[in-house]
Symmetry: C2
Subunit: 325 residues, 2 copies
């Protein structure tokens, strides 16, 4: 495991069910503390070693799989190091902070014979997975329109969040989940994006955008609106308020407050649907490597959402409509 900044919880919660041994941990970014991560890891992997340099760790341990969860600005180079050693990669998103870096990651992936998935763990939340199964089973007909929301508490974010070079921006870090939902639920390809974002009123967080809005058009004239904000009051009961609304020709499905509401000829949308069986993203990824299953997040999905989020950020930076090719 390289880095402890990202969502290492996805790994830690699935390790007991995945028959894996965590053999080493190291920082992936300058000054990144890993004591907290190590103290959790050694509970189920007592032989785990601590390294200060991840290159040495990879060369010495030659692991089958590496988890990359360092600071966002270092993700691309760490992922490339792992891929160049033919190691499977489970990585924090976005896997790169610039389109150029992303091309480099993709190139390294195409030359390796490994599996790769980005941490789009919200796909695995029972509410999102249940809603997706409903859409896939035709319960809302053809998807025509999507709106999605990401709303977080800002709190007091560490220094690397406050610089564009080290954080990447709010659309790639927070909005990317909603970008991924749009693609995943619709099954369509992105055609264009117009986005805007603002740093105003960011409570001293430097470059960090605290509000953003993205308008994607997709194939078959599907449109998607995404709003992203860091203005969720500190007093709110939860950190985040993720929402998704997918409008189809035969119904409308929504994810809100961790529940799923379906409105169609057979459902009045008043009661939350029962959830499908729970799955874990890391457990699924490990199963895929072993040829025993299929992770819901493919390498292609991981690259596609990253590229879309980075294009959306560029649209907002340059205030113009951008096309996908």
């Amino acid at each position: 495991m390289i880095g402890s900044t990202g969502h290492v919880g996805y790994v830690l919660q699935d390790v007991p069910y995945s028959n894996v041994d965590i053999v080493g941990v190291s920082p992936g970014s300058d000054g990144e503390g890993i004591d907290g991560l190590y103290s959790k890891v050694k509970e189920f992997s007592p032989r785990c070693q601590v390294f200060t340099d991840y290159h040495s760790m990879l060369d010495e341990l030659r692991p089958d799989l590496v988890v990359v969860a360092c600071q966002f600005g270092d993700l691309a180079q760490v992922i490339i190091e792992a891929l160049s050693r033919n190691i499977h990669v489970f990585a924090e998103k976005p896997m790169a902070l610039t389109l150029e870096e992303l091309i480099g990651v993709r190139q390294a992936y195409s030359e390796a014979k490994v599996h790769l998935a980005a941490m789009f763990g919200i796909r695995y939340h029972p509410s999102f997975l249940t809603a997706w199964e409903q859409v896939r089973n035709g319960k809302i007909g053809y998807v025509r329109l999507i709106s999605a929301q990401k709303s977080y508490k800002l709190g007091d974010r560490p220094a690397f969040f406050r610089k564009r070079e080290t954080c990447g921006g709010t659309i790639p870090w927070v909005g990317i989940h909603a970008v991924d939902w749009v693609h995943w639920f619709s099954g369509e390809r992105f055609v264009s994006v117009f986005a805007s974002h603002s740093r105003l009123c960011n409570q001293g967080h430097g470059d960090l955008e605290v509000a953003a809005s993205c308008h994607f058009t997709l194939t078959n004239e599907v449109a998607a609106s995404i709003t992203i904000d860091y203005f969720r009051p500190e007093s709110a009961l939860s950190h985040d308020d993720d929402r998704l609304r997918v409008v189809g020709t035969d119904g409308i499905i929504e994810v809100k407050d961790g529940h799923v509401y379906l409105l169609n000829a057979d459902n009045d949308g008043q009661e939350s649907l029962p959830f499908v069986a729970e799955r874990g993203i890391f457990a699924d990824f490990v199963a895929q490597i072993r040829g025993l299953g299929q992770c819901l997040v493919s390498a292609e999905d991981s690259f596609y959402a990253a590229r879309a989020a980075l294009l959306a950020r560029q649209s907002a930076d340059e205030n113009r409509l951008l096309y996908f090719d």
Copy 2:
């Protein structure tokens, strides 16, 4: 009253409290039936006369005020006829279906010494009015981001809905309410719009767009996302599903299902706020004419929302970012 196609209910419900006498009704569009309207009007205005030609009615009766609610493609010319006779106008929105027509209406208004308001009656729904008062009273701080939703049942719409020339399109007819909310709640001016819309899967409704999405940027880097659809299932409990979410520096307020939810340091957003006292848009407009009050919808607001909706439609038609001047 000219025409019975639009929201004449705003007038009929307020007449008993407005000390007005409805002296005449006539169609405003070819073939527009007004029997149903007349039968309701004569209950409280028994002397009301029926005309077949609104020009004759205006010339003969010389009313103080005219209500214009004909088919959408005829609104502009009827409004101009009324304004040119110095008659106050309470009119269906959008007051024109093209930017050129809108300039004509505005010119006629500027030359008359009368009041004018468009039927932005949703402002007067207790939920929207309550939410607006909260924002105006600083309960969410500075507005930073808005998302709004209009979702209607399609049903089987009359023929004039199926042609762009006679209907104007879904952004100007349905979306305009949300456009108005964005301006009204934020207090900001529109800077740019990118929009998209689609006629696919419109159940034989010709030109009618059944899905649309608008992305407005406003002064002070405020952004607003609006989604509009006609895909609300016929089985749904209500015709419409109007929603508004306004994100501010100190809180977030939402209108949903006719309720208002406020999340800030003092409110956990779980319970609907009590409503402010009810007011009627037509009663308010009449009071304004009498110098006894102020309608929440000004002539300026009416023109501004119409122009913004027409620019959004143009953006969607031409698939490009458009700027307000």
